[in-house]
Subunit: 299 residues, 2 copies
């Protein structure tokens, strides 16, 4: 909408780092853009950018103004969704930042269910590590985040929380697969394939190992749980993943790890604190919360 145009341009300048570049992107003259900004600064009574020899950079006030713009934009989107809802359109778009574990089974199923009732609603799913997911929320790049063991939790408003134990992933013919429940030391004694340190599962593994005077020393370390799931079929390593990201009968087997060795973590559904969600996102969040609640209590 046009009344936010100046803000949009300010954001573009902040991103480009220079008025001229941003002007080119926006298909207007540098002088027009320069004047818009000057006019805004005049009216607002504060300067938004530091003028550097090679361009401009937002100052603190500018950062605040930019944040204000993001909230305004998000609230406008919510307004639109409310209106669409009112006029019976049931349209909308939901953007979700989530941990990898949600990608194979849980989210596809939930989205499909939701879209049966609301075919006008579209989705964006962005896989993010737990830190990025929270950033996405704070910058209004996502409506919802579904994250295993988030880190900072500032600005993160928890909508729902479910405990999630970590499972060992094994080839069916792996010697450990004979036991119904594994000890952590057994997993560590074997060569193991672990997620990288940015990932929630690892964040639980490391202190648990240290607690037993051991260390996680992966043969293969990776960002990708998909790689973990497939690799254990090639070599007798032990992989790790939370329950919601696993389904048996896909080649590998999953085994519980003793709770006393490795405490369960939490899968959290959250949104940006203080933000009012668009209708579609709100409804989907409600559905997710119910679905998480109904998860097989694998504890």
């Amino acid at each position: 909408m046009r009344h936010l145009e100046t803000f949009r341009l300010i954001a573009a300048v902040a991103r480009a780092g220079s008025i001229r570049k941003a002007a080119e992107d926006a298909n207007i003259t540098a002088s027009a853009l320069n004047r818009r900004i000057a006019r805004f600064e005049e009216e607002f009574g504060e300067t938004l950018f530091e003028r550097l020899p090679r361009g401009v950079r937002l100052n603190t006030v500018g950062e605040l103004v930019l944040q204000h713009y993001l909230t305004q934009k998000s609230d406008l989107a919510r307004l639109r969704s409310q209106v669409a809802d009112l006029t019976g359109e049931r349209r909308g778009h939901v953007t979700i930042a989530c941990s990898q574990a949600l990608v194979p089974y849980f989210l596809p199923e939930q989205i499909a269910i939701y879209r049966q009732d609301h075919p006008g609603v579209t989705f964006s799913i962005n896989v993010r590590d737990r830190e990025q997911a929270e950033q996405d929320l704070a910058q209004f790049a996502s409506d919802l985040a579904l994250v295993f063991e988030p880190v900072h939790m500032v600005d993160f408003n928890v909508l729902h929380s479910v405990p999630q134990p970590i499972y060992a992933i094994l080839a069916p013919d792996h010697p450990l697969a004979a036991q119904p429940e594994l000890r952590l030391r057994d997993c560590l004694d074997w060569g193991h394939i672990a997620p990288s340190v940015k990932i929630g599962v690892r964040a639980l593994l490391d202190p648990a190992a240290k607690n037993k005077n051991r260390a996680v020393a992966p043969v293969v370390e990776t960002d990708s749980f998909e790689l973990i799931r497939h690799y254990v079929l090639h070599e007798h390593l032990v992989g790790f993943q939370i329950g919601i990201g696993l389904q048996p009968d896909h080649g590998f087997v999953m085994r519980k790890i003793a709770e006393k060795d490795l405490p369960h973590g939490h899968l959290l559904l959250g949104q940006m604190k203080g933000r009012a969600l668009p209708v579609a996102a709100y409804r989907f969040a409600t559905q997710l919360a119910r679905a998480l609640e109904a998860l097989p209590a694998a504890l």
Copy 2:
């Protein structure tokens, strides 16, 4: 700020009920205003007003848009306050909707304390019954509400809650004044002076009386606790008020009413749900919460 001008005009039209009247108020032509609205409706893709033979009225979409404007405006005010805070100005304005009981002692003292540290911050205090107070919050007419026994609590985000018993107010030479604690029946047996039904104290008195198969039958019924306090000195009636609105040694005496007869109510500090407060309001709310916490526990 100018980018909200169209919204401001829409709000003015909604208030005035007619484009021509609103245009006159805003010192522009009716046709200019008409075009602004038409343009906005065009851009937004929805009509905001029903066109009636005698003027216009907001439709449901318009109501939503107006609400959106109010939140935008309030968020802009918060932005300004953040910037002011940043530049070390420590200025700001806090608007409070409160019950009468807060007016004589509590709020004046708290405001004075706050202003010692922040002389640049100004205040508006609006006495509202509990229903109006919540409306004020919802319409962003107040930053904070401090209300005894609020009614609806939708959109009311409780920041702090303290229990408040109701006291009987008596002339010092009133026969009942001899007892340290009164039974409710004694109060009702005497002629009494009670607040009107919109007021929280009354909302507790009525069911408590009914519970004993009695009824509140006031000799004088009033909106004003000030009148109650003064009237009991003229005639031997029993008045009622919560502790925070009373201080002894102002002519009358206060007596506890047995808790089993008349349960205590709650004084709630709250804000509009989902709204981010300006810096000054936020700080003052924090101070109020602490002060309420530290109140002499009269229970």
